[in-house]
Every structure is written in structure tokens, then in C-alpha cells.
């Protein structure tokens, strides 16, 4: 609480805008994947158009945050909160860009009907990334940072599924050269989803820092390394 209640209003407004951006980004992930899987070109075009709103929201948050810093000279918690909202909004904006890219590829892939098996892995990968982003943004509301500790484990899981998907798509390309075009697009889509997961992890780190003023502790030593596969074909 501050003596000047308008200051509280400023901070609350920023948090509200960040959450709204999060909602838009979550929606873009969902819609872009569904457009890709269901061959839905109009939906893909809507995603591409929606990205503009996300960019606009980020610019607005930047402006507001700067003006709050200039007017209120925030310290400690408040300063972290404001810097945090700038960083989170830029991560969310990137998630939106990646979603837009998937939507663009969906239009290209939709040129011909592709077999269902191409999309199955992609769908489950996107579910993981969306779940990761949702959980992280829920913590932004609840401030229950303890649950962020599992974020890194789940990022590994996303990476592992991505690597496996990479192999699978390569085998389809080797089976039939006609698969190369759609599978290359899908490969980029998979990479985009994997990066969305990375942004969600970044946001988790930012939130942890905002709330505790400490860095999210490095991953605990895990006995289970089986998820951490590397392939020479991967990156």
C-alpha cells in the first residue's frame, strides 16, 4: 500500500495489462495450432491479424512502465514489479510472434491435405507448452512462487518431445520426398513451440525474481536423466 493511492492504481493497471497480454498470447498458441491441425485458413489469418493487438499492448505497457518510473521513483519491490512487467510483456510479445509464424505456415501447409500422423506429436508438444505458459501466468496472479520450481523440469520435457518429433519428421521426409515441404514447415512449427516453452520459463524466472528478489534456484540434481536425450540430427 502506498500513501498515494494512484500509485497503487498504476501498479495494478500494469499487472492487469500483462495478464491481458498473457490471455491473448495463450489464445494465439491455441488458435495457431488448431488452424494448423485442422487446415483452417481463416483461423490462421485471424491469428496473424491478432498479433498486432499484442504488439500494441506491449508498447503500451512499456510507455506506462516508463512513466510510472519517471513520476513515482519506485524502489525495491515496486521497481522489481515494474521492470518485471516490462520483461514479461516482451516475452509474451515474442510468444505472439511465434504463434503468428505458425499461423503463416499453417496457410502454407493447408495447400494439400496432410496425413493425421504428421500432426499428432505437434499437438501434444503444443499442449505441453500451453500448459507451461498457463501455469506460469497463474502464478503471476497467485504469487505462489514455490510451484515455479518444477518449471525447469517441464522445460526439459518439452525439449525432449521436440527432439523426438524432430526425428519423426525426418523419417517422414526420408520415406517420401513429397513430404519434405510440409514436414519442413512442421519442423519450424515444432521449433517455434519449443521456443514458446523457453519464453514461459523466462517469465517464470522473472516472476520468481519479482516476488523474492532472488534468482530461481538452479535445477535440483535429478536422478532421472532419461528425458534429456540428444540426437546428432538435432541441434
Amino acid at each position: 500500500m502506498h500513501i498515494v493511492s494512484a500509485y497503487d492504481e498504476d501498479l495494478k493497471y500494469l499487472a492487469g495489462r500483462v495478464a491481458a497480454m498473457g490471455g491473448m498470447a495463450e489464445r494465439m498458441i491455441e488458435n495457431s495450432i488448431s488452424a494448423l491441425v485442422h487446415n483452417d485458413v481463416p483461423k490462421a489469418q485471424k491469428v496473424i491479424a491478432d498479433d498486432e493487438a499484442l504488439d500494441e499492448a506491449q508498447r503500451e505497457i512499456d510507455d506506462r512502465a516508463l512513466s510510472v518510473i519517471a513520476r513515482r521513483q519506485p524502489l525495491a519491490d515496486d521497481l522489481r514489479e515494474i521492470i518485471g512487467s516490462i520483461r514479461i510483456s516482451s516475452d509474451l510479445e515474442r510468444v505472439g510472434d511465434l504463434g503468428k509464424n505458425i499461423a503463416k505456415r499453417a496457410v502454407a501447409v493447408a495447400m494439400a491435405r496432410q496425413p493425421v500422423k504428421f500432426f499428432r506429436g505437434l499437438q501434444s508438444l503444443s499442449e505441453l507448452a500451453a500448459a507451461q505458459l498457463k501455469d506460469v501466468l497463474d502464478v503471476y496472479a497467485s504469487r505462489d512462487v514455490e510451484s515455479l520450481r518444477s518449471v525447469r523440469d517441464r522445460d526439459y520435457e518439452i525439449d525432449a518431445v521436440y527432439t523426438s518429433l524432430f526425428r519423426e519428421l525426418l523419417t517422414y521426409m526420408m520415406e517420401d520426398p513429397r513430404n519434405i515441404t510440409p514436414c519442413t514447415h512442421l519442423l519450424f512449427c515444432a521449433k517455434n513451440i519449443e521456443r514458446m516453452g523457453d519464453h514461459a520459463t523466462n517469465i517464470a524466472e522473472t516472476i520468481y525474481y519479482v516476488v523474492t528478489a532472488e534468482q530461481l534456484p538452479a535445477e535440483r540434481p535429478k536422478q532421472d536423466r532419461s528425458h534429456d536425450v540428444t540426437v546428432e540430427a538435432g541441434d
Binding site: 501434444s124 500448459a131 501466468l137
Partner: protein, 425 residues
């Protein structure tokens, strides 16, 4: 009656006057100071000043604070208040079976009833409702409410973690002038899933059923044509056809049981299940199958009950699927181990159940994906073992409904271990 009057009425005959005086203390004090100030500069006699002060105090004490009209209005309103209106919003919310969230004019959550806590995790009071429900439609709905135009129709809201759910959300303000608003979530997951099930069935099942169907119709043709008079070939073909129809039946069974699971509305597990007893039961029911496969089941289950919240039938299916898989795909290892332990990491008394086989193991690149629907490490092997590609998908779905985790460890050539971590609370 105002609060002060009500308190006073029980305290004594003088109390209401004192209370009124108390309420008017600032006005009385200011008036007294003013009178003294005037007296100081004018030659009025002292008794006049005293009389003026006394008059002010007497008027303040005797006259009611509000006009007769306003008192009458309040009395009427009080008389109109039925027992319903006096119920607190909180108690009313507790009686509603649907998730319900109350929030105030600034958007902060004032109260979330129990179904809401179950559905959306811990929804703390004081958190801005727009931070928790971020979808653009919800943002717009809350914004419209707060600026005062209540839309009669609600919006749709979907929650995908841990289990996909769809809600129709209705919003309205509570009473008039309370400054509270309410969101009521109506679960519509079932309707949505019926739609999706149809689409899924066409996409997945038709694809999976095509292969056995094609093989059956191929054999029918052969039996009508070249193999018409060959009793040996006929028997063999009929056997194969029998296998294929059995496979289609299994596939449909599995698909239906997966859809049934997905259709259920999301309610956290309510009963407590003794895992030790449950696993012993599963082992008993699969002994026959293990014997046929030439596999020995070695169990390490402690005596005492380890109770976790869960749905008995669903958990039985989890361990049946895991144990059956271990017997089938780890057949070459001749042995399957199943161990139940208390989860050491979990202070709330969770359980860990490990099913380990000593078969060929699972290559690393497949591990993250074997719980996907229809994902098969080795298509031929899976077909030979009568797998449907759905067993682990069912396991994963049930476990996510239980907030449980599945970890898979495997070394190629040495076998695979599936560990289920069931939380204690």
C-alpha cells in the same frame, strides 16, 4: 435504527441521548468554541453564554440525527428485507454446486466457493480476477461489468490444465449497491467433448480400423476365390480374421474407455484408496496372463495401508495397463517387479509405485512420447502383442486427473521402469 441507537437501547434510559451526543461531538464542540469566541469579544453576561452552550448540547442530545422521512424509509426497507436478503453472499455461494466467484468494484476476488477452488486451484481472495481469468472474452466481460453495463449473455471459457474443461460463464452484479459482482461457471465440458469425440473418432479410429478391415476383406476374397477348397488354408485364414476382429474390438473398447474418461466432468478424487490392497488385487487378476506369457511377477508391497485420494476403478486400470504392458513387452526378461513405497519427498504421505520389466527397454528418443495416443515404439511388435496404442494414453489421462506424475526410466537392453507418484493430498 442506526447502529449506535441499537446498542444504546439495551444499555439504559440515558444511553440513546449520550450516543446522539457522541455522534454530534464535533458539531457541538465547534459550536461551543464559536459561542465562547463571540462571548469573549462582546459584553454579554456569563449566564447567557452558559445558556447558549446548554441549549446547543440539549438540542444535539434530544433531536434525532435524521429526518422523520429518512427514518421511515429505512424502517420500510428493513421490513421488506426477507430472510433471503439477510443471507451472507458467502453462505449462499457455498450452497451453489457450480464454481462461483465474487469480486468487488476494483476487480479483487472477495470470495470463491469450494467448487471454484476445486476447479481453478487455490483462488485467493484479494487477487485481481482478471489476472486469473485471462482470456480476451473474460477480460472484456469483467471490464463491461465494472464500468456498469451488464451484458445479459455470458461468455465461454476453457481451462485446459490439468484436464480440459469448458465453461459457460454468466456474470452479474449482486443486489444493488453492494459493490459486489459474481461470476458463475456452468460446466459444459460434456457437450463440447461429445463434439470433439466425434471428430477424434473419425480422425483416429477410422485410420486405425482401416488396416484390420482391409486384411479381413482381403482374406474373405481369398476364401471365396483361390482358397475355396483348401481346408488347411481356410482354417489359417479364419484364425487370422478372428485375431483381426478381436483387435478391432479391443481398439473400440480402448477408445470408448478413453472417451468416457475424457467425458467425465472434472471432480477431484474424493474417496481414499489403499494402494497396497489395490495393487495386490491387480496382481491377482493378471497372474493368469503373466503365466501364459511365461513371466513371473515379483511384488514388494508393505503391510500397512498407504492411503491416497483416488478413484478406485481408474487406479486399477492404471496398474493393470502398466503391468500388462510390462508382461507383454518385457516378456523376454522373464520377470516383472512391482514395488509400492511411501513417497519420501512428499511430506503429505504420497505413494510411489514402480513397475519394472527386464525386456529390451525403450530407446531414449521414444520415452517422452510413448504416452501419446497411437504412438508406438515398434508398430509390428505392438500389433503382435495386441496393443492398441492407447494403453499409456489412458494411464496418462487418469494420472493427470489424480494430479499424479509418471516417470519412465529405461536402459536399452536392460528393461524399463514406470514409476507412478501419487500425491497424498
Amino acid at each position: 435504527m442506526s447502529e449506535a441507537d441499537r446498542n444504546a437501547s439495551s444499555a439504559g434510559p440515558l444511553a440513546p441521548y449520550l450516543a446522539r451526543l457522541g455522534e454530534a461531538r464535533w458539531v457541538v464542540a465547534t459550536a461551543a468554541v464559536a459561542v465562547f469566541a463571540v462571548a469573549f469579544f462582546s459584553p454579554a453576561p456569563w449566564w447567557l453564554i452558559a445558556a447558549a452552550v446548554l441549549a446547543i448540547v440539549a438540542v444535539a442530545a434530544l433531536l434525532p440525527r435524521r429526518s422523520r422521512q429518512s427514518r421511515r424509509r429505512e424502517a420500510q426497507a428493513q421490513a421488506m428485507l426477507g430472510p433471503v436478503e439477510r443471507l451472507s453472499a458467502e453462505r449462499l455461494a457455498a450452497a451453489v454446486p457450480d464454481p462461483l466467484i465474487l469480486f468487488d468494484q476494483s476487480g479483487r476476488i472477495a470470495h470463491a466457493n469450494r467448487p471454484a477452488q476445486t476447479a481453478f486451484g487455490a483462488v485467493q481472495a484479494g487477487v485481481d480476477v482478471r489476472l486469473r481469468f485471462r482470456s480476451p472474452e473474460m477480460q472484456e466481460l469483467v471490464r463491461a461489468l465494472l464500468v456498469g453495463n451488464v451484458r445479459p449473455s455470458g461468455v465461454d471459457y476453457a481451462e485446459r490444465v490439468p484436464v480440459e474443461r469448458h465453461y459457460h460463464v454468466n456474470a452479474s452484479s449482486v443486489g444493488s449497491g453492494t459493490g459486489l459482482f459474481v461470476l458463475v461457471f456452468k460446466d459444459q465440458s460434456e457437450l463440447r467433448r461429445v463434439d470433439r469425440m466425434r471428430a477424434d473418432f473419425i480422425a483416429n479410429a477410422s485410420h486405425e480400423l482401416r488396416t484390420p478391415l482391409a486384411s479381413i476383406s482381403g482374406f474373405v476374397e481369398t476364401l471365396r476365390g483361390p482358397a475355396r477348397d483348401d481346408p488347411k488354408a481356410r482354417d489359417r485364414f479364419l484364425d487370422i480374421m478372428n485375431d483381426q476382429t478381436a483387435r478391432m474390438a479391443r481398439l473400440i473398447d480402448d477408445l470408448l474407455s478413453l472417451s468416457r474418461l475424457e467425458m467425465k466432468s472434472f471432480i477431484g478424487p474424493d474417496e481414499r484408496v489403499d494402494i497396497c490392497l489395490l495393487v495386490r488385487g491387480v496382481i491377482d487378476s493378471l497372474t493368469q496372463l503373466a503365466r501364459e506369457a511365461g513371466v513371473e511377477i515379483v511384488s514388494d508391497i508393505p503391510e500397512g495401508p498407504i492411503e491416497v485420494p483416488g478413484n478406485r476403478d481408474e487406479l486399477i486400470q492404471v496398474f493393470e495397463n502398466l503391468l500388462e504392458n510390462a508382461c507383454k513387452y518385457g516378456q523376454s526378461g522373464k520377470k516383472v517387479e512391482i514395488a509400492v513405497t511411501r513417497d519420501a519427498d512428499d511430506q503429505k504421505g504420497g505413494a510411489e509405485i514402480t513397475v519394472r520389466d527386464f525386456g529390451p527397454g525403450i530407446p531414449d528418443e521414444h520415452i517422452p512420447r510413448i504416452t501419446e495416443r497411437f504412438y508406438r515404439v515398434d508398430v509390428e511388435e505392438s500389433r503382435a502383442q495386441k496393443g492398441t496404442g492407447l494403453g499409456l494414453a489412458i494411464v496418462k489421462h487418469i494420472l493427470s486427473r489424480h494430479n499424479a506424475r509418471l516417470t519412465i526410466r529405461s536402459v536399452v537392453g536392460e528393461g524399463a521402469a514406470f514409476t507412478v507418484h501419487l500425491p497424498g493430498v
